[in-house]
Amino acid sequence: MEKLNNVDKVSIAALLLMSISLTAAFVLSPLSGLALGANSLSSNVIGTVTVPSTCFATVSNTAINFGSLAPTAQYAPANLVVDSNAGGNVAANIVVSGTDWTSGGNTFLVTNTVWNPTNTVTFTPSNDLTAVPVDTHIQISAGGSGNIYFGVQIPPGQAVGTYTQNIIVESSC
């Protein structure tokens, strides 16, 4: 068998490369009929994302000071503005709940706090704040805002003290 000289080797290598490149072009040519170069590679990746309905709500302040109240005194109304965060895209229902009032070892019931969608907070009849969350039916549209008013009544004979309570305002949708 004849030995190949360097020129032959180079030409064979070139032919091999050409054939490989041609094969590659044949395999990878897109079906969509786009005019692409022989060695171009194109692929379409379809991205999908589902944006669900969401709601947010924020409160205007994190504390309500009802001031100094004597037993049997009533305080109303304390206004709390609730905003629907712009991040949401559907209306939020406002749900409220709370804890008992405490001052050291002294307590009085959560139901002494009342809420109302308007500033006409009444104590009889009243929407009592409860430990179990209650739907106020106050609806805040996406990006909108609304008000909820709170009042408190001190029970007769309540011991002297500085009482605190947690009021929980939540969005629900």
Binding site: P52, I64, N85, T164, N166, C173
Partner: protein
């Protein structure tokens, strides 16, 4: 000019304060309804969103279920997600709730409702008055469904397992019988007395067939042997 500076400073300050105090918790909308087979459980994922740029410490309060029927046995609600933790900024945070429906007095169609609360926890203290916490609430409803029928595959699997055990047991019995037949209970040697008075012995481990063959051999030899004339 000074007024403009002051107003812009106040605006930035109010924005910063608002950004700090306002809750950024939200939720994915939609009802959450469990339909749980009696003596089974079901898991549903709630998604809570932190749309703010800072982490939010949260606390999950599982619902106190209100039954629609008297004398019902309340389902058991648990969360595999920690009830206290932190939600990272711009994150959709899943809370997995599992409801187990005990059989008790429950019948299909019995239902309960309650509210799952995810509250932003703050270290704020208030010297008198009310501390306002914000969060998200999800009203959930639970209903009891018929107990799940046992999967027929379980029956088939059980039958197959029993069949396999029976086959093994049968094989073992056969093998032990065979082993017994090979001489465990046989006499140490088997003596065969032929009609012509010869005594042949066979080893006990040999089978009966071998003894039979020997007996045959003896009888054939007897046939071949010429009779002595008296």
């Amino acid at each position: 000019m000074n007024f403009q500076r002051a107003s812009s400073f106040l605006f930035i300050l109010s924005f910063l304060v608002f950004g700090v105090v306002s809750a950024q918790l939200g939720e994915v909308a939609g009802p959450v309804s469990f339909n749980v087979n009696i003596s089974s459980s079901q898991t549903i994922q709630l998604n809570v969103i932190n749309s703010g740029s800072s982490p939010i410490s949260y606390k999950v309060i599982l619902p106190q279920l209100v039954a629609q029927q008297v004398n019902s046995t309340a389902p058991n609600i648990t969360s595999s997600t920690p009830l206290v933790g932190t939600i990272m900024p711009y994150t959709q945070f899943p809370i997995n709730l599992t409801v187990y429906m005990p059989s008790g007095n429950n019948k299909p169609g019995y239902s309960w409702s309650g509210v799952v609360q995810v509250i932003e926890t703050t270290n704020q203290t208030q010297a008198g008055g009310a501390v306002v916490q914000s969060g998200v609430a999800k009203i959930i409803s639970i209903s009891a469904a018929q107990p799940k029928p046992l999967n027929p595959l379980i029956y088939v699997g059980g039958i197959i397992i029993i069949a396999i055990i029976a086959a093994f047991a049968y094989k073992k019995v056969i093998l032990s019988k065979k082993a017994a037949g090979k001489g465990a209970t046989m006499p140490t040697s088997l003596y065969i007395r032929s009609k012509n008075g010869r005594i042949s012995s066979s080893k006990p481990k040999k089978t009966r067939n071998k003894a039979k063959k020997q007996r045959k051999r003896v009888t054939s030899a007897k046939k071949k042997a010429p009779r002595k004339r008296r």
